[in-house]
C-alpha cells in the first residue's frame, strides 16, 4: 500500500507542475470517468513542426488519475503529436510504476485517453484509445 502511494505519485498529486490553463492551445480535449466522477481536461501547444512545446491539465479526481496526468504531460513536452498517438497503456503504467486493479486502471488511463483524443482531434473519446 505504502508502495501504491509512492512518494512520486503523491508528489505529482499534491504539487502538480502542469495543472492549469494555457493562454492558447492547439489541441484540447476533456473527458470523465463516470464510475468515479473523475474529470480531466488537457491542452497541448505545438510549434509549426508539430512538436509539443507546452501542456496543461485541469480537473478533479483521485491521486492516481491526477498524478498520471501530470506525469504524462511532463513526458510529452518535446515530443510530437504523432508520438502521442503512439502511446500505449504500458507507457502510463511504466510512468506510475505500480500494479493496478482493473478499477484503478481506468483512473490511471484517463489521462492517456484524453491526451490521445486531443492528438487525434476527436469529438468523442473511445476506449480503444488506451490500448
Amino acid at each position: 500500500m505504502d508502495d501504491f502511494y509512492r512518494e512520486i505519485i503523491l508528489d505529482h498529486y499534491k504539487n502538480p507542475i502542469y495543472k492549469g490553463k494555457l493562454e492558447s492551445s492547439d489541441y484540447e480535449f476533456e473527458d470523465e470517468n463516470p464510475l468515479c466522477g473523475d474529470f480531466l481536461h488537457i491542452e497541448l501547444k505545438t510549434d509549426d513542426k508539430g512538436i509539443i512545446t507546452d501542456a496543461r491539465f485541469d480537473g478533479h479526481g483521485c491521486a492516481i488519475s491526477m498524478a498520471s496526468a501530470d506525469m504524462l504531460l511532463e513526458t510529452l513536452i518535446g515530443k510530437s503529436v504523432e508520438d502521442v498517438k503512439q502511446l500505449s497503456k504500458q507507457d502510463i503504467l511504466d510512468l506510475l510504476g505500480i500494479e493496478l486493479s482493473p478499477v484503478r486502471l481506468k483512473c490511471a488511463l484517463l489521462s492517456l485517453k484524453v491526451a490521445k483524443a486531443a492528438a487525434y482531434e476527436l469529438e468523442e473519446a473511445h476506449d480503444d484509445l488506451v490500448e
Binding site: 505504502d2 502511494y5 468515479c36 466522477g37 473523475d38 479526481g61
Partner: protein, 410 residues
C-alpha cells in the same frame, strides 16, 4: 435507546465476517448499503433447498414440486407479514428494487400516464428511482419535477407541497437515502400525495433492512425493496402493490407462469401475483429471503434499528475531529446508519483504497446518486454504512484507517 445487541455476538453468525482479508486483516465491513452479508441460517436455507427440495414450482404434481412450491409460497407469506401486509398475493417477487420500479413504470406507468402528466421525484433518489421514470417520460412525453433537498439533507417540504399543488399523477420517493441516511416522513408524504390525487411509489431498499416497516400504516400504492440488502441472497426482490391497482395493471413480461390459458389466438393472464412473474423464478433465493425474514425477526427490527442508531452516533463521535472531514446529510439522531463524507484534498477513491489495505470495506463514488452529488456540488463521497453485525470496534478501525489516509496524504 441502549443497544440490545451485544458486541460481536451477531457478527459470529456471519461466516464471511470470520474470514481474514488481505492475508491477516480482520474484515471491517462498512458497505451494507450496497449489499448486506448473509448469516449462516440464510446460506443453509438455500443449501437445504438444493439438497432436499429442489424442483420447479407451480407446475408438476410430484412430491418435490409440491414441497418446493410450498416453501416458496411460505417465503412470500413471511415477507408479506414482515412488512405488515396480510394478503400475500400483494407481494410480487422480482429480482431487486430496480426491477420492481421498472415493473411499475412498464405496466402501470405505460397504461395510465398520458402526455403532459407530471411525475414528482426527489433530488435524493437512487438511479433506480430516476432512470425508469426518465425512460417512461421520454416515451410518453411526461414532465418530471424534483423535490429539493435542503442543505441539511432533509427534503424541502414546502417545495414538496408546492409541487403537489400541480397535481402530479405519480409521486415516487425513497424511504431512506442511501447517501445521506435521511429517513423521509413517508407516511405524511404519502397521505399528502394521495390528497393531491397522486399514486405513490416508495423505494424501500434502505428502509426494510433496517427498521420496522408497516405498509398497512404507510399506505403507499407501491413499495419496492431488495432482498440482498436485508441479509437475503441476491436475485430476489419485492414489489408490493395495492390489490385493485395490481388487478387492473397489464402484465410485465410474458412467458410461463404468468398465463391462465394460451391458444393460437392469444392468452389470458394469470391472477396476481403470478401475472407479474413470468418464467422460473429465483426459487432458492426466494426461500433464502424467507429465512432472512425469520433471522431478522428473531433479533427484532426495533433492536436492529436501536443498534444502528447507537452506532451512527458513535460514528459521528469518532469522526468529529478528523481533520478536513465533512459529513453530508442530517445529524446522527435524524438518520439511519449511513455516513457519507468528504475529506479535504483527498479523493474518495484514495480514501477507500487505503482503508481497504487495512481490511476496511467502504464505498467510494456517487453511490448511484449522481444528481444528489451534483446538488451538493461534490463529485464523490466516501460512504460507511452500518448493519446489525457492526460494532464500535469497526468504527474505531475506521477512525484509525482515516488517520492513516491523512498521514499518507499529509
Amino acid at each position: 435507546m441502549k443497544s440490545l445487541i451485544k458486541d460481536d455476538e451477531i457478527a459470529r453468525q456471519f461466516p464471511i465476517l470470520k474470514e481474514p482479508i488481505h492475508q491477516n486483516k480482520r474484515l471491517v465491513y462498512l458497505d451494507s448499503a450496497a449489499t448486506a452479508q448473509k448469516p449462516l441460517a440464510v446460506i443453509q436455507s438455500m443449501n437445504a433447498f438444493y439438497e432436499h427440495t429442489n424442483a420447479n414450482i407451480h407446475r408438476g404434481i410430484h412430491a418435490l414440486a409440491e414441497a418446493a412450491t410450498e416453501a416458496y409460497e411460505i417465503a412470500r407469506a413471511k415477507t408479506a407479514a414482515f412488512i405488515g401486509v396480510s394478503d400475500a398475493r400483494q407481494i410480487i417477487f422480482t429480482r431487486n428494487t430496480s426491477e420492481s420500479i421498472n415493473l411499475i413504470a412498464y405496466t402501470w406507468g405505460r397504461e395510465y400516464l398520458k402526455k403532459g402528466d407530471l411525475i414528482v421525484l426527489t433530488e435524493m433518489e437512487h438511479h433506480s428511482n430516476l432512470v425508469p421514470w426518465y425512460m417512461l417520460a421520454e416515451e410518453k412525453e411526461l414532465s418530471i419535477e424534483f423535490v429539493h433537498v435542503n442543505d441539511d439533507g432533509t427534503l424541502d417540504m414546502q417545495h414538496y407541497h408546492d409541487l403537489l399543488q400541480r397535481k402530479p399523477k405519480l409521486v415516487s420517493f425513497t424511504h431512506m437515502s442511501n447517501v445521506l441516511g435521511t429517513i423521509n416522513t413517508a407516511k405524511e408524504m404519502t397521505r399528502d400525495a394521495h390528497t393531491a390525487g397522486a399514486v405513490v411509489v416508495i423505494d424501500g431498499a434502505q428502509a426494510v433492512p433496517h427498521f420496522s416497516v408497516d405498509l398497512t400504516d404507510l399506505a403507499p400504492d407501491f413499495y419496492a425493496f431488495s432482498g440482498h440488502k436485508m441479509c437475503s441472497p441476491t436475485g430476489i426482490g419485492v414489489l408490493y402493490g395495492k390489490m385493485d391497482l395490481l388487478n387492473a395493471m397489464p402484465p410485465f413480461m410474458g412467458g410461463g407462469d404468468m398465463i391462465k390459458k394460451v391458444t393460437f389466438e392469444g392468452f389470458s393472464t394469470n391472477d396476481v401475483p403470478y401475472k407479474f412473474e413470468a418464467g422460473t423464478p429465483a426459487i432458492a433465493e426466494g426461500i433464502g429471503l424467507g429465512a432472512a425474514v425469520d433471522y431478522l425477526e428473531s433479533i427484532g427490527m426495533d433492536a436492529i434499528f436501536a443498534h444502528e442508531k447507537e452506532l451512527t452516533q458513535y460514528a459521528f463521535d469518532v469522526l468529529a475531529d478528523v481533520k478536513g472531514l465533512q459529513i453530508i446529510g442530517p445529524s446522527a439522531g435524524e438518520r439511519g446508519g449511513v455516513v457519507s463524507f468528504t475529506l479535504e484534498g483527498i479523493h474518495p477513491h484514495d480514501v477507500a483504497q487505503i482503508l481497504d489495505s487495512e481490511g476496511i470495506a467502504v464505498r467510494a463514488g456517487h453511490h448511484c446518486a449522481m444528481p444528489l452529488h451534483q446538488r451538493f456540488n461534490i463529485p464523490a463521497t466516501t460512504r460507511a454504512s452500518l448493519y446489525l453485525y457492526n460494532t464500535k470496534a469497526d468504527l474505531d478501525a475506521l477512525r484509525l484507517g482515516l488517520d492513516k489516509v491523512i498521514d499518507i496524504f499529509a
